[in-house]
């Protein structure tokens, strides 16, 4: 790729000039890492290059990759908590996964793909269509459910209380001994207080019936620096436990998740690589970093 080639040509010079460092910064900026984090990364790299007395291209490239990998942190536990439990009263408690995010990032699609993965692992799944707002949102989710062979709990009308639908889905999961309940929510912008309150209510109502095993924030890889605002507010309101980075099949690198991971202290767990049912994969730190650099 041109970026990779360019980076390589920068790094293959035996002496880095200010212009070279600017080009390195540019590589990071183009990946949506953000000006602040890019500056910090390069400062760290400069120090190491100086301390180690590194001059040769291959080593500097390896060091930058190392620095990036350190921030992305391959040691984080990225497993999805989807194990059902038994309550104090001996009752079956399904794992509940709540999916949240701004409009159009791929929440509903991710729920569909995730259901497919779980079903393939022989787990029983029920979907909750807690987006009662957007046109045909419940139909879209139900279509995904039918596609992978799981049932969808939905309201009988548009505009119904989404918390009630989420509650019903979890209750059904309890009653039917379902392993995992996946709850889809409406897209909402983090600066809309009313909609964020509604999300808070959904989480509280669900928790009355079963603890939330995972709250997944779905971020679109094309998102720029606003992704950090999204993470902050959703993290605060919904207690996010993991990030899903969608649309990585395009030209966008998704570098904003580097800052997001650090801000929230929770890992990217899954990546979306297309619109089909099988286009969901575990996050791989090494692959991701290689993508950022080229």
């Amino acid at each position: 790729s041109p970026l990779g080639a360019r980076l390589l040509s920068v790094l293959s010079r035996d002496h880095l000039t200010e212009d070279d460092w600017d080009e390195l910064e540019e590589t990071l900026l183009l990946a949506d890492i953000g000006a602040g984090p890019a500056g910090e990364l390069l400062d760290a790299l400069r120090t190491r290059v100086r301390v180690l007395g590194v001059r040769d291209a291959a080593s500097v490239r390896a060091l930058l990759r190392e620095e990036l990998l350190k921030v992305v942190d391959p040691t984080m536990d990225r497993a999805l908590a989807t194990r059902p439990a038994t309550g104090d009263d001996g009752a079956h408690v399904p794992a509940v996964v709540l999916v949240v995010g701004v409009n159009g990032t791929g929440k509903t699609t991710t729920v569909g793909k995730l259901a497919r993965v779980l079903v393939a692992e022989d787990r029983s799944v029920v979907l909750g269509a807690a987006d009662t707002f957007r046109a045909a949102a419940a139909d879209q989710l139900q279509t995904w459910g039918a596609r992978v062979g799981v049932e969808t709990v939905r309201a009988d009308r548009d505009g119904a209380d989404p918390a009630a639908v989420a509650f019903d889905a979890v209750r059904k999961g309890r009653a039917d001994d379902t392993d995992v309940v996946l709850v889809d929510t409406a897209g909402r912008l983090q600066n809309k207080a009313g909609l964020m309150d509604e999300l808070g209510k959904i989480t509280r109502v669900i928790t009355r019936e079963a603890p939330l095993s995972e709250v997944l924030l779905v971020l679109d890889a094309t998102t720029g620096q606003n992704g950090l605002n999204q993470a902050r507010v959703f993290g605060e309101v919904a207690g996010v436990t993991g990030i899903v980075l969608t649309k990585l099949d395009g030209t966008a690198k998704g570098g904003i998740v580097v800052a997001v991971q650090r801000e929230l202290g929770v890992p990217v767990k899954l990546v979306g690589l297309g619109e089909g049912p099988d286009d969901l994969a575990p996050f791989d730190a090494g692959q991701f970093v290689d993508g950022l650099l080229g």
Partner: protein
């Protein structure tokens, strides 16, 4: 922590108070702050480079105005340049001399096309037009249903001869979206609708097959307007995506969506700069009435977080 350009420039101004003419170093310092603000606003890197170079050049050669101190003059130059690029060619929808006027919508997945179809439909209806929405997204599960619901909410008819992806389909391309688009225009002509709005599937710039399909739809309906819908939250990918859509469908105008969020929306500058196409509308919410003509001056101060800066200048 100095987060916004306003904050950072306020402190720059303080240091400069009382000084007469700006030195080259002073201009560079101000331009650096502006560069950082543009990057934080997600303006594309190559666009930032081009833009700051132009600003620097103008600032160096600028006449000293008595009313403003030189740093403030730099900011004013930035603002003027931004408004110039964003609003260079603002214009209204181009209507066909012989109806129906055909409007095609295109963009990435989830950008806000289907919602926009409803908004345009409603706005045009209220202006006395008789729009028809055409469901040419057969790809995304229930896209056709979504457009039908949106049309119903807007109180405009929809042409949806194919149910679209119902879940079982696994083909790369489902049905014949090009045919649906073509038939939609014929239907409008037959039923005397004076505007046709064609909703298309979201697609990635790198998806050869779907980009070709978009080009084929364009060729089949020869639209009067092709509107490229782009999410205001998009980052550095804006340029690659805008270029890919320009190549495939040669869009005539841009709609910036989700401007009701708190994203700075630097994409507006990126897309306007690299394609030279006008930004025509702003989408500002999920309701069908959340839709307005694009305001370049508001966008300029939003991108730079300039509200306070401009006030500062006015007070100078």
């Amino acid at each position: 922590m100095f987060n916004s350009l306003s904050d950072r420039l306020t402190s720059t101004f303080k240091n400069l108070r009382g000084r007469g003419r700006l030195s080259e170093a002073d201009i560079d310092a101000t331009v650096r702050e502006i560069r950082r603000a543009l990057l934080d606003a997600d303006v594309a890197v190559p666009v930032v480079r081009e833009f700051t170079a132009a600003v620097r050049e103008r600032a160096l050669s600028a006449e000293v105005s008595g009313a403003l101190n030189p740093a403030q003059q730099v900011v004013k130059i930035v603002n003027d340049e931004l408004v110039g690029i964003l609003g260079g060619q603002t214009r209204a929808l181009q209507l066909a001399k012989t109806p129906p006027t055909v409007i095609m919508l295109a963009g990435l997945q989830g950008a806000g096309k289907t919602t926009l179809a409803g908004k345009l439909g409603l706005a045009l209806k209220e202006q006395g037009h008789t729009p028809l929405l055409v469901a040419a997204d057969l790809q995304r599960p229930n896209a056709v249903t979504q457009l039908s619901v949106v049309a119903e909410r807007a109180g405009v008819p929809v042409f949806a001869p194919h149910p679209g992806n119902q879940g079982a389909e696994t083909d790369a391309v489902i049905g014949d979206p090009v045919g649906v688009a073509r038939d939609g225009v014929a239907e409008a002509r037959a039923k005397q609708h004076d505007v046709v709005i064609v909703d298309t599937a979201g697609r990635l710039g790198v998806d050869r097959l779907l980009m070709q399909q978009a080009a084929d739809i364009r060729d089949a309906v020869t639209p009067d307007e092709v509107l490229f819908v782009i999410d205001a939250m998009i980052g550095q990918d804006a340029v690659a995506t805008a270029k890919a859509f320009e190549d495939a469908v040669d869009f005539t105008g841009v709609v910036l969506s989700k401007l009701d969020g708190d994203a700075r929306g630097g994409a507006a500058l990126s897309v306007a700069t690299v394609t030279g196409r006008p930004i025509m509308f702003a989408s500002t919410g999920e309701k069908l009435t959340d839709f307005e003509v694009f305001h370049p001056d508001r966008m300029a101060s939003r991108i730079l977080d300039m509200g306070d800066v401009l006030t500062l200048i006015e007070q100078a």
